[in-house]
Amino acid sequence: MSRIKSNIAISLLLVSISLALYFFAKDFPGSSKNFPIVILLIIFVLSLGQIIVSIYRFKNLNQKNFNIPTTPLIVFGLSFLSVILMEYIGFLGAFAIFFISLLYLFRVENKKSYIFGAIILFLFIFIVFEFGLKVSLLKMGF
């Protein structure tokens, strides 16, 4: 998808969401609806403006290709899964799995230094948070 097409798609999404939320906010009692309604209308108008500008540019500009690479999305997915896992197996277990998953995802060649670095990082975080800030990482998530 080109960047301009993605601009139009995102703006259309924002137009739809702001419109839906506008009708939802209309039922709020008293003055609690005023501010959100004004803001939603601003988002609606700006997104509409963005669509118009994008359509104008669509005709006049060379379109650059736009894509979102898969690796960051996988890293995000793994981070999210680790947080969920944390609730079952704790912080240390969940993020040990996270580190090992990245080791294979990134195809790290220097595995020894990677694992050594991971241990140092865990120890640093553990000391700072567990003893310095009294945040119990062992109970984290449970």
Binding site: G30, S31, S32, N34, I42, I68, V75, S82, G132, L133
Partner: protein, 500 residues
């Protein structure tokens, strides 16, 4: 305020440790291209929860100023500015490195950065207290106009994407309305999620938007490691030579003043200050042709100006609660977390904290110079941290940091969601900083507007503008918009000139 009390407070073990730790981490972050001062401050924000307010703020401002200075190292050494504020430094700095004068360039950059930082510290010390008196005269109308003025920063934080910046800011304003209405208690946009009733927590949102999203950006190229060519360098000398100092001291002074003035303007950051100063140094130089060919004055102008912004951008933050930069917006969160409200109270009731932080900021700049010159010798090794290691390190620190806010897993989910949101925003060219500003200024604007509605007898707009402070803020709003456009254009023109 008793100066002995301030000194004792400043040199307490906790405060000195905070400065040392902050400067070291800030330098490290600034030195690594791709990591920014915003990321550093956002990442360390949760670590400061257990600290005394002065130590917490000292840690964060030390990270801020040291990260800006640290950005000059890769700019000089490998022509890859660690932060956008050091882009102008690379022009002459890299040429000196290629000539084998890396040490000279670093010495000049260090002297100028420390000079700029100290000047901005004194500006903060002398300008902020009298300016804070104005905040005593603020009522709902003035607070509403103040929030509107603050929102004009959105344009300048949008770096060329004005409409997208406004959309991002509006989304931030909208997100600030989620949760219980302060007047009626009605749960707005909660959709059955009890976790949303208390609203969106600001800190995990900041960590997600700036830290986790940066980790996702770095993961696009996980094997990237900055490869340094072996640099031939002149004999290592720790202190600047007298002849170098004489050559650049006036440039440092003028550039620091420019940096202070640019920093006070909301939204105009270190990058704008460094380009404007570089241009002015060149314009008034007797030897214009040396610029772009390894000029010491070129490096000094850029570095003095970008570090002079760090202190002065705190002036509107501490006095009126208006953050002058993205980092200042995150620092506003830090102030609020520690129960400190910007305004006159910061300089009276909480004066012992504020003055300790300001003096500590000056001390941090001095300390930064010593550490910087020392680690410069070993810089090559530090810069070799590959992305595949930075990514999990940032992710884990973000998770632990957001959990530490209130030992609450809900905050971790908020951070993760904002992380993805921030990444998609970056990919789609929507700047994340305006969203944070909207999130901060939303409640101020809404409360001010609703209270003005109650107090107004002849229409709310008339009520809001019917006083001098609101009118001045209205004028400042207009000036802010146009000065932002002017400064952005100047930056672009100077950048194009320097390339050609």
């Amino acid at each position: 305020m008793d100066s002995i009390e301030i000194l004792l407070n400043l040199f307490s073990l906790a405060n000195v440790s905070a400065v040392i730790f902050g400067v070291t981490i800030g330098l490290l972050i600034g030195m690594l291209p791709g990591l920014t001062a915003n990321l550093g401050v956002a990442l360390l924000l949760p670590i400061t929860y257990g600290f005394e307010p002065a130590a917490a703020l000292l840690l964060l401002v030390s990270v801020y100023t040291a990260a800006i200075y640290g950005g000059s190292f890769p700019a000089i050494l490998i022509n890859a500015p660690g932060t956008s504020a050091s882009a102008a430094t690379a022009i002459d700095g890299y040429i000196l490195t290629k000539e084998g004068k890396f040490n000279t360039a670093i010495r000049v950059s260090t002297f100028a950065s420390v000079f700029g930082g100290i000047v901005s510290g004194f500006a903060l010390l002398f300008i902020a207290p009298p300016l804070s008196l104005i905040s005593l005269k603020f009522g709902p109308a003035q607070y509403f106009m103040l929030a509107v003025f603050g929102l004009t920063i959105i344009g300048t934080l949008s770096s060329g994407n004005f409409v997208k910046g406004l959309i991002a800011g509006s989304i931030g304003l909208f997100l600030s309305t989620i949760g219980s209405d302060l007047d009626s208690g009605y749960p707005r946009f909660v959709f059955g999620f009890t976790g949303l009733v208390s609203g969106i927590n600001f800190v995990p949102a900041v960590i997600g938007l700036f830290s986790l999203s940066q980790a996702l950006v770095l993961s696009e190229d996980p094997l990237k490691t900055i490869q340094l060519n072996k640099v031939k360098t002149d004999t290592w000398q720790f202190l600047p030579k007298l002849i170098e100092t004489q050559k650049i001291v006036i440039t440092c002074f003028i550039s620091s003043i420019i940096g202070v003035l640019v920093g006070i303007l909301p939204g105009a950051g270190g990058d704008i200050a460094s380009w404007v100063s570089y241009n002015e140094a060149k314009r008034f130089s007797k030897n214009k042709s040396e610029f772009g060919k390894g000029s010491l004055k070129g490096i000094a102008a850029s570095e003095a100006a970008n570090n002079a912004v760090t202190g002065s951008s705190l002036i509107p933050l501490l006095t009126l609660g208006i953050p002058g930069s993205t980092t200042a917006a995150i620092l506003l969160g830090a102030l609020l977390i520690h129960g400190l409200v910007p305004g006159r109270e910061l300089f009276t009731t909480n004066g012992h904290i504020t003055y300790s932080v300001i003096w500590g900021f000056i001390f941090a700049n001095l300390f930064m110079g010593f550490v910087g010159l020392y680690v410069a010798k070993y810089f090559g090794k530090i810069a070799k941290i590959p992305n595949y290691f930075l990514v999990p390190a940032i992710v884990i620190l973000s998770v632990v940091g957001s959990y530490a806010i209130g030992n609450n897993i809900q905050d971790v989910y908020t951070m993760i969601i904002f992380g993805l949101f921030g990444y998609l925003m970056r990919k789609l060219n929507y700047p994340p900083a305006p969203l944070i500003l909207g999130l901060i200024l939303g409640p101020i604007a809404e409360t001010g507007f609703r209270q003005s509605q109650i107090l107004a007898t002849d229409g709310v707009l008339l009520y809001i503008l019917n006083n001098n402070i609101s009118l001045i803020l209205f004028l400042l709003t207009i000036i802010s918009i146009f000065s932002a456009i002017y400064l952005e254009l100047t930056k672009k023109i100077n950048h194009e000139k320097s390339i050609s």
